[in-house]
């Protein structure tokens, strides 16, 4: 009967793909297909990113010069608060796992879906409910707490805080659902032969991320709940006016929010490994070190939250311990950087757009990591804490790391997701604009901060004026790059060249064993994995077997072959055949 299915797919003009199968709006909204849920997340998150990004532009515009103003102090405070909350809780935390993790993870491990497809869909609805609560918060009043919600300031604010903390509580469940789903999927749903040592590193990254999501998110949930009770019932846990302790809030908050940084960066590490390996056509250097250091980071990440509080009034001893552990966590991150660079050695480096983003990441994340060491130094952090240096540092990590990796990953998997190629030239131009704009914006902020410019300032003294102007100019370059990406992405949806099955000549299952646009059930036959994810020397199918050039990694490929089920890839022994 398999042969019959093949015959059917060859006679049909347009074979069944997940995009032309069950296409009504209702079918999309009730889909249990991980790929469609990934796309639903993509659209929702793109909207959040756009709004939060425009808020950032408003902040930069306001700060352009000391004399120039487009809004009042109160509006400014609300603007940066919403920028922070939306970017952290509603965009970066879910971004890579929810979009690319959802789409790619089952494909990479050879599964038909995640372990709990209904829970997966529920997570999207919970996320949307969180978004709805956010909008409610904006409608009921002013929200100007900053994304950190420090008490007692936040407990003295109006009802908007209740809705916003409610939104974070609710969207936290989306995060837990995703994490839980991925852990079970990775443990239980791997294809035959897909041992732990053959897992693509993106899967390892997601696995480490999921552990953090599952373990850390409940704590922020209960913290937000306590904050709500503090506001409604005045229970006096965090507000000193009621006998509570504001430092306890900071401990609770950072117990989640520091590991949250690893929720944001670990999947980015995963993407990096995929990009570097594929575009260097070389086995990843130190596979085991990269995989295990992700898990090590996830674990150590729970023990460093106090480094946000060196000047808060916590005891000196705890500061010292937190500082020491902070350094230990820097080392596994460093190891990864060295391993990625070593992967290019004796490889065949192909500078396509995704690889440009990967190299950008190495550049930017190294700065992010080294400035992290700087703010982790106890004596120096006292000077740098709560200045623009910290702002610059976490943008280098969050945006220069996470978002750049997401962009690289989106370009890399775009052909698989949409079945279309984007415009390579425009892609390279946009990657350049983003890289230059990013550095102009945020490197100046590092200097501003070490010069003493405090964060969250509506006005500033004149000696900072020049650098603020440069930073604002940089933000416009950055924004133009991002809008260019949006432009050619939309264009490619309709007019892009149709993508071949494996345009990058990658060796992981989603490229080798899945049609150009995946089937609703992913694989036409369960794959049997016989080699590591980056063993290009064993991956004959990547090179089109005899080298006929059809998938040799030049973005080309004959149109006739693009939707045909892959033949060269090994499949699991067929039981009905043997029976």
């Amino acid at each position: 009967m398999e042969a019959a299915a093949h015959a059917a797919s060859q006679t049909d003009a347009e074979p069944r793909t997940y995009l032309n199968h069950e296409t009504s709006l209702w079918e999309w909204l009730t889909t249990k297909d991980h790929k469609k849920i990934g796309i639903m997340y993509l659209i929702s998150l793109a909207v959040v990113f756009l709004v939060a990004g425009l808020l950032a532009m408003a902040v930069r515009l306001e700060l352009m010069s000391p004399d120039f103003s487009i809004m009042s102090a109160s509006q400014y405070n609300q603007t940066f608060t919403m920028h922070g909350i939306m970017m952290v809780f509603l965009f970066i935390v879910p971004s890579i796992p929810a979009i690319l993790g959802n789409f790619v993870l089952p494909l990479q491990i050879g599964a038909k879906d995640v372990a709990f497809p209904r829970l997966n869909l529920a997570s999207w609805y919970v996320y949307i409910a969180g978004g709805a609560l956010t909008v409610t918060a904006l409608l009921v009043g002013e929200l100007s707490t900053g994304w950190t919600f420090y008490t007692p300031y936040s407990s003295q604010q109006g009802t908007a805080v209740i809705f916003m903390t409610g939104a974070i509580f609710v969207s936290g469940f989306a995060s837990i659902f995703t994490g839980l789903n991925f852990i079970v999927t990775i443990h239980k749903m791997r294809a035959p032969g897909m041992t732990w040592n053959r897992l693509p590193l993106f899967v390892w990254g997601l696995y480490a991320t999921s552990i953090v999501q599952v373990l850390a998110t409940p704590v922020v949930g209960i913290t937000m709940l306590l904050l709500i009770l503090e506001q409604t019932l005045q229970i006096g846990i965090f507000d000193p006016a009621l006998g509570g302790d504001p430092i306890l809030f900071q401990h609770f908050f950072w117990f989640y929010s520091h590991p949250a940084v690893y929720i944001m960066i670990l999947p980015a590490f995963g993407i990096l490994s995929e990009l570097i390996a594929t575009f260097s056509r070389q086995r990843i250097f130190g596979y085991r070190a990269i995989a295990l250091s992700s898990v090590a980071i996830a674990m150590l990440g729970f023990l460093v939250w106090g480094h946000h509080m060196f000047v808060s009034g916590q005891s000196a001893i705890s500061s010292i311990v937190f500082s020491l552990i902070t350094y230990l966590i820097g080392i596994p991150s460093g190891i990864k950087i060295f391993n990625w660079i070593a992967t290019m050695y004796k490889g065949s480096v192909w500078l396509q757009t995704p690889m440009l983003y990967a190299l950008s990441f190495l550049f930017l994340f190294t700065i992010g990591g080294l400035t992290g060491i700087m703010v982790g130094v106890l004596g120096v952090d006292v000077h740098l804490h709560d200045t623009y240096f910290v702002v610059g540092h976490f943008h280098y990590v969050m945006m220069g790391g996470s978002v750049i990796a997401l962009l690289g990953g989106m370009h890399y998997w775009w052909p698989k997701i949409t079945g279309r190629m984007y415009n390579e030239t425009l892609g390279k131009i946009a990657a350049g604009l983003v890289f230059v704009g990013f550095n102009v914006t945020f490197f100046t902020q590092l200097v501003l901060g070490s010069q003493g410019m405090p964060r969250r300032y509506y006005e500033y003294v004149d000696r900072f004026a020049e650098l603020h102007m440069i930073s604002t100019i940089g933000s416009f370059i950055l924004a133009s790059g991002l809008f260019l990406v949006l432009g050619y992405a939309l264009h490619s949806l309709f007019y892009g060249k149709k993508a071949p099955q494996n345009p990058w000549a990658a060796a992981t299952l989603e490229w080798t064993n899945v049609a150009a646009i995946p089937d609703p059930h992913n694989f036409t036959s369960t794959p049997l994995v016989t080699r590591g994810p980056y063993d290009f020397h064993k991956a004959d199918e990547v090179f089109g077997g005899s080298g006929d050039g059809q998938a040799r990694g030049d973005g080309a490929g004959s149109d006739a072959s693009r939707l045909a089920p892959p033949e060269a890839a090994p499949s699991a022994p067929k039981e009905d055949a043997s029976a």
Partner: protein
């Protein structure tokens, strides 16, 4: 303030600043070397092994155990070195000499009050003796929010909490004027919560502090009003020059017609001013929010009268 800072750091004006800067630049240069190395290796490898043919099929590279161990061990030694150094500086920052001169600091939204042992009080201005260790004991006003006391030229910072004391110490080295910033976000006036640090030579400071111990009873009502205006932080929200802040300006306030949110209006006489100080939300001028200004009912009768007289003077 003279402009003797470097590209990265502002001028250094305390004893601990030199130590912090030394550490900063050590980490900075170590980081710069690592960064340049990483980027150079990246560019070199990306160029040297660039793809020459779509069918390139490089041989797999065997991992080098030695290389991997070395890039684990070397950074570990480096960060432990930096940690130890940073830890020592931190201990210096945390441990005030026992003979330090004590100043009480109180933060409020949005300003700073300082009280000296000799009885002098200042607002948004901190006077310090040069070459003498000083400890500032900080707290935030009852019911107020978190603030943070930051002297960039001194490289010290400390969060300020309500209902609790924290403290910070330093020793100024150069007479001059320096900046005081609030670095813990505290609301609409956060970026206006600035102060000025005046470091005086030790003998000048002693002179100043002896003179500045003011006897309130000898002040005229208007002078006392001005003092109360500063002490209670009125200037955080009410300007004297007509500029709009969180509250209405005091300029030309007296005897003007006040329009309220409920469309009523009244002439601002002495009783109106008094009521607005003691019960701010009784009448709220249109365009301003209620619940923002706290009540100042705790002020003495003479202080309130003095404030009213002071406001009357602002024409």
């Amino acid at each position: 303030m003279n402009d003797s800072g470097t590209f990265w750091l502002p001028e250094a004006a305390s004893t601990v600043a030199a130590e912090v800067d030394g550490l900063f630049y050590f980490v900075y240069w170590a980081s710069a070397i690592i960064f340049v190395g990483v980027v150079a290796a990246m560019i070199y490898l990306a160029y040297k092994y660039r793809r020459r043919d779509p069918n390139d099929r490089p041989e797999p590279v065997e991992e080098s155990r030695l290389l991997e161990i070395s890039w684990i061990v070397v950074p570990t030694i480096l960060v432990l070195l930096v940690f130890t150094w940073g830890f020592q500086t931190f201990v210096t920052l945390q441990t005030a000499p026992p003979n330090a001169y004590q100043i009480q600091g109180q933060a409020y939204s949005y300003g700073w009050n300082f009280e000296y042992p000799e009885g002098a009080q200042t607002t948004d201005e901190l006077y310090l003796p040069a070459d003498r260790p000083v400890q500032v004991r900080l707290s935030s006003r009852e019911g107020d929010v978190l603030h943070s006391f930051y002297l960039p030229q001194f490289r010290v910072k400390q969060d300020v909490l309500p209902n609790r004391y924290t403290s910070v110490w330093f020793e100024a080295t150069e007479p001059g004027t320096y900046e005081l910033f609030c670095t813990e976000y505290c609301g609409v006036g956060h970026s206006q919560m600035l102060g000025e640090v005046n470091v005086l030579p030790a003998d000048e400071f002693d002179e100043w502090v002896a003179e500045a111990g003011i006897n309130e009873d000898e002040l005229s009502l208007v002078e006392l009003g001005e003092l109360q205006y500063q002490r209670n932080g009125c200037q955080g929200c009410h300007s004297l020059d007509g500029s709009a802040m969180a509250g209405p300006t005091f300029q030309g306030l007296y005897a003007s017609e006040r329009a309220f949110a409920d469309a009523s209006s009244v002439e601002a006489d002495e009783n109106y001013l008094r009521e607005s100080i003691i019960e701010p939300d009784a009448k709220v001028v249109e365009g301003y929010g209620s619940g923002i200004m706290p009540s100042f009912a705790h002020l003495s009768e003479r202080d309130v009268t003095a404030l009213v007289e002071f406001i009357k003077e602002q024409q």
